[in-house]
Amino acid sequence: MLRKGSTWGLIMVFLLAAVLSGCGGGKDSAASGQEGGEAAKGGDAPKEKVQLSFWYGWTGPEAEALEKLIKKWNDANPDIQVKGLSQSDYQKQLTAITGGNPPDVASNFGQDVVPWGERGAMMPLDDFIRKDNVDLGDFVPAALSSSQASGKTYALPIAMHVSMLFYNKELLEKAGFSGPPETMGQLKEYITKLSIKEDGGKLQQLGLWPGVDAYTFSYAYGGSYYDADKKQVTPDDAGVKKAVEFGKGIWDQFGSKELDRFASGLGQYMSPQNPFFTGKYAMTIDGEWLPTFIKQYAPNLKYGIAPIPYDESKPDLKDPGNVTTSVFYIPKGVKHPEESWKFLKWMADPEQMAEFTAAIGNLPTRTSLQTHESYKEVPGFQEFLKYSSSPNLHSFPATSFSTEYMTEFSNQYNAILRGDVGLDEGLKRVKDKIQPLVK
């Protein structure tokens, strides 16, 4: 009995030791950052050393490009040391901010900025911007607007994406076209001619995948998703409706069954089997990163990059496009807002922005960088840089409910394409669901 008892005692001691060591170990390393800072203060460092944590959503080689910049900053600023952390899932940021443990600077998608910012998760940067005379006029308006609402700027867009029309030169020539379509009417005609069915009626080649991006075409038709003056969501706006009709028109030409069948034979996006690379798609609407992938996966592909077609009845809306961004922001509740801002501002400076966006193959958000030499080597960037100065670029209206709006719109758009719901009814459903969220 005694022997047994002592064995149990030993087990309990071991368990306790395990728990305590886990605890102690954790605490030590958690505190080490601060201790380091205090040690530096005690020494002959002139200022208190601040340690900033910087969480970003890029991974792998893209994260390496960012770490390079962080190192550059750290070398130049011994008193403000930044520690980067790559985290592909934004749930972490959300939890940390809510739990009162936010990073000092973080990245996010532009579409999250105003929903998070308006709810108080992001610190408005306007005072800093004014104080340091950051020239917001240098930013592409469509990119900046996704970070702004109610007169406040919640984040600085660091990189942007816009889509253009890619076309397979050989396939267009074969169909008798000497150049890309310029208007929406021509696009429709191109799609019909470039879609080829086998003898058995099986789709072999498709002009353009009809499920693609209703937003881009909405702007081509002069559509708008939100009327800020009337505080009305407008999924039923005439331009939006035309864009949905356009997609639906192509979809119905082939039908869900045949398109599913066709889609099933398509290869992975980031591989040599990307349907545009293999000629399964004669045209596609895609972003500035695609030329880099083509260079990597399909170096022999003869392709062209053209503006998004415009509505022939509205020639002033030439070169339309849908802009999305990646941003840097300062979460609410950070301990060193001044230092956080210094680092954020530095990252958004032209020099750093050029280095980073060129390295990861994203477009810069500053118009002054659109002719910068660091993009010379990036395939396809001359077309895209030029396009990003078009006045007809838009981003989805930034409101506190925009993520929910986009989700519901894309749900109903898919349902409309598949014929699960009528066009007007589908758009009405979006309005019914989202309008009550307008405050």
Binding site: G22, K27, S53, T59, S88, T95, A96, Q268
Partner: protein
């Protein structure tokens, strides 16, 4: 051995096992072969199983991208703590609600079930707040401490096993004046070995493959686990699949070894019952 018996005890089992084994083995073979393909080959259509030439360099590249040894060590520390905790707490609690006749057993069982039924997504934030208040964020405590209080899944599982053990087994000892703790540790626990081995294995695999927990609670890349390391192969528009597959293969090996060699704990107990009849 007669032909009929041979058919019944050897040929039939092996045929069935091989047939089914193919279904379960195939994915793993596919994983290994994919990890040896070049990145251009992985998505070839129509697909082929064998790589054109074996790209062992994928493994080298995977090792260069992710500090495997370091992350493996971090992961194993968490796994071991969880197993120790789970094997300590879950059987105790299960024993309490199955073999001790006391008023609370039913209530506790009901609450154990209830905590599993409420979706964890809505409890994530308040849980984080508790750990943040305790100053445990960015330590492994949020990932391991729970195990030392027992997990509902294992408590329920062990309860079912415990209820199946004949009463007489403990009653004889009780008559000899053995304490409850002694009956628990010397009579009941040994018969529970296969179930405890299952708990240990599941705990290991659960902690080893957990993504959300480490993601939320570890803020320091030096403390990362393997699953967080795998993030490095996934980008916005796709993944570096060949490296991801190589890393996944390496990651699977400790789990396979543990299971393969841990099996002997399954086999021992049959006798515990038969000896007692």
């Amino acid at each position: 051995m007669s032909a009929a018996k041979m058919l019944r005890t050897k040929i039939f089992p092996h045929t069935m096992l091989i047939l089914f084994a193919f279904f379960f083995l195939f994915p793993f073979i596919w994983l290994v072969f994919t990890s040896l393909k070049s990145s251009n080959e992985i998505f070839e259509l129509p697909p082929r199983i064998l790589p054109a030439s074996f790209q062992w360099s994928n493994y080298k590249a995977a090792f260069e991208t992710v500090p495997f040894g370091h992350y493996m060590l971090n992961t194993l520390v968490i796994c071991v703590l969880c197993i120790v905790g789970q094997l300590f707490a879950s059987p105790l609690v299960a024993y309490s609600i199955s073999r001790i006749p006391w008023a609370g057993s039913k209530i506790i069982f009901a609450i154990v079930l209830a905590t599993m039924i409420l979706p964890s997504q809505v409890q994530l934030i308040p849980q984080y707040i508790i750990f943040a208040k305790l100053g445990w964020v960015n330590t492994i405590l949020p990932l391991t401490i729970g195990a030392f209080f027992g997990a509902p899944f294992y408590i329920f599982l062990l309860r079912q096993f415990l209820l199946g053990i004949p009463r007489e087994l403990s009653e004889a000892a009780k008559m000899d004046g053995a304490s409850e703790l002694r009956i628990y540790s010397q009579i009941i626990m040994p018969t529970l070995k296969p179930a405890l081995a299952t708990v240990a294995l599941f705990t290991f695999v659960g902690a080893y493959t957990d993504f959300m927990g480490p993601l939320i609670y570890l803020n320091d890349a030096a403390k990362w686990t393997l699953t967080l390391g795998l993030q490095g192969f996934q980008q916005d528009h796709g993944a570096q699949w060949e490296k991801l597959m190589a890393a996944s293969t390496i990651m699977a090996i400790p789990m396979i070894l543990l299971y393969f060699f841990g099996q002997k704990y399954y086999m021992q107990s049959g006798s515990a019952f038969t000896g007692f009849k």
